[in-house]
C-alpha cells in the first residue's frame, strides 16, 4: 500500500476515534456500547500501521486482491454490529412494554385510591 494512502487512512481513523471519544464525553454514547467502536478503531489502527497482516491473511485465504479481503472483513463486522443492535433493540422493546404496563397499572391503582379518598 502506498504511503500517501496509509497516511490518509491514519488521519481518517484518528478522526473516527475523536468522534467516538467526543460522543462518549458528551454522554451520547454509554461505555458499554461504545466499546465495540473503540476496539474496532484500535484494530484498524494496527492494520494500517502493519499492512502486512492483512496482505498475509488475504493471500492465505485465497483472495485475488487484498482489497477484496478488507471489504469482506468490514462487511462481516458491520453485520455483527447490526445483529447486536437488533438484539439490544429487542431487549429494550420488552423492557419498554413492561414499563408501560407497570405505569398503567400504577395509574389505575392511584385512580382507585383517589375515588375512595375523595368520597
Amino acid at each position: 500500500m502506498n504511503l500517501i494512502l496509509r497516511i490518509s487512512l491514519l488521519i481518517g481513523i484518528l478522526v473516527y476515534l475523536a468522534l467516538v471519544l467526543t460522543l462518549l464525553k458528551k454522554k451520547t454514547f454509554i461505555l458499554k456500547y461504545a466499546l465495540i467502536w473503540f476496539i474496532s478503531a484500535m484494530l484498524l489502527l494496527i492494520l494500517d500501521i502493519f499492512p502486512g497482516i492483512i496482505s498475509f491473511v488475504a493471500s492465505s485465504l485465497g483472495f485475488q486482491l487484498t482489497a477484496n479481503a478488507i471489504f469482506i472483513l468490514i462487511i462481516f463486522f458491520i453485520l455483527l454490529v447490526l445483529i447486536s443492535l437488533t438484539s439490544i433493540v429487542s431487549i429494550q422493546h420488552n423492557d419498554i412494554k413492561r414499563l408501560v404496563q407497570s405505569a398503567s397499572i400504577l395509574q389505575s391503582e392511584i385512580d382507585e385510591l383517589k375515588k375512595t379518598y375523595y368520597r
Binding site: L24, K25, L31, K32, L35, D95, L99, S102
Partner: protein, 234 residues
C-alpha cells in the same frame, strides 16, 4: 443527621429477614429501604409479609441500577447520609456508626468499610484479593483516591454525593468505578476497618468467569472516567 440504609436485594429469600431483623435490633435509629431488584424467588412476598420498607423494581436493573434507586429515594426524602449495605448478611450493622462518624464530623464525603485494614474476618479468595489490589492501584493513578478495599459495597455517603450518585452510577460492577468518579469530582474518600462475614445462604452474583469480564470492564471504565471527567478536582 438523617441517615438511610440502602439494602439492594436480588433473590435473597434465605437471608433478607435475618439481615433486616439484625439491622432493626442493632440500629433502630436509622431508616432503611430494601430495593427488590425484580427477584424471581419469594423475596418480594417476604418483604410484603414482614412489612419491611421496600421498593419493588418492575424490571431487573442489576446491582448498579438497584443501588442508584436507593440514592434517588434518599435524595427525594432529604437524607443527609446514605449507607449501602448488602442484602446477603456479609455486612454487620454494628459498623454503621463507625462508617458515618467521619461524615458527621465532615472529615470525609464518602467512607468505605474495608476488610483489608485490620485484616480480620472474611478476606475472600486470593484471586479476588489480587484483582482488588490491581484495581486499587489503577484507581489511585486515575483519580488519586487511596483505597484498599475498592469492591466493598459497605459504604457511607454524604448529601452531596447522594445527589451525585443518584445521577451517575454504573450499571454493573459499580463499586470501584464509583470511587473513581466521586474522587474525580473532588470527593474526600476515607476507609474504615470492618469485619465481614462469609455469605450464609443463597448464591453470590459474581462467578469465576464473570470475574475476567469484570476486571476488563471496570479497568476500562475507570480509565474512561478519568478521560471524561478530566484531572481537575474542585
Amino acid at each position: 443527621m438523617k441517615t438511610l440504609i440502602i439494602i439492594p436485594a436480588y433473590n435473597e429469600q434465605d437471608n433478607i429477614v435475618s439481615v433486616v431483623s439484625e439491622l432493626k435490633e442493632k440500629c433502630p435509629e436509622y431508616d432503611y429501604v430494601i430495593i427488590n431488584d425484580c427477584s424471581t424467588d419469594k423475596t418480594g412476598e417476604i418483604l410484603d409479609r414482614e412489612n419491611f420498607n421496600h421498593i419493588d423494581l418492575c424490571l431487573n436493573l442489576g446491582i448498579g441500577g438497584g443501588v442508584q434507586t436507593g440514592y434517588r429515594y434518599a435524595l427525594r426524602n432529604g437524607y443527609d447520609c446514605a449507607v449501602q449495605m448488602d442484602g446477603d448478611g456479609q455486612h454487620d450493622p454494628e459498623y454503621i456508626k463507625d462508617l458515618i462518624s467521619a461524615i458527621e464530623k465532615d472529615d470525609a464525603d464518602i467512607v468505605i468499610g474495608s476488610r483489608f485494614i485490620s485484616k480480620e474476618g472474611f478476606q475472600s479468595s486470593s484471586m479476588r484479593r489480587f484483582g482488588i489490589k490491581f484495581l486499587s492501584t489503577l484507581i489511585r493513578f486515575a483519580s488519586g483516591a487511596e483505597i484498599k478495599d475498592v469492591t466493598s459495597g459497605f459504604r457511607a455517603v454524604n448529601k452531596k454525593y447522594i445527589k451525585f450518585y443518584s445521577e451517575n452510577y454504573a450499571d454493573d460492577y459499580p463499586e470501584p468505578e464509583a470511587i473513581a468518579t466521586a474522587s474525580l469530582k473532588g470527593a474526600r474518600i476515607s476507609e474504615c476497618p470492618v469485619i465481614m462475614r462469609e455469605r450464609t445462604g443463597g448464591v453470590s452474583s459474581i462467578s469465576p468467569f464473570k470475574s475476567v469480564y469484570y476486571m476488563l470492564k471496570v479497568s476500562l471504565a475507570i480509565l474512561f472516567a478519568r478521560f471524561i471527567m478530566g484531572g481537575d478536582k474542585k
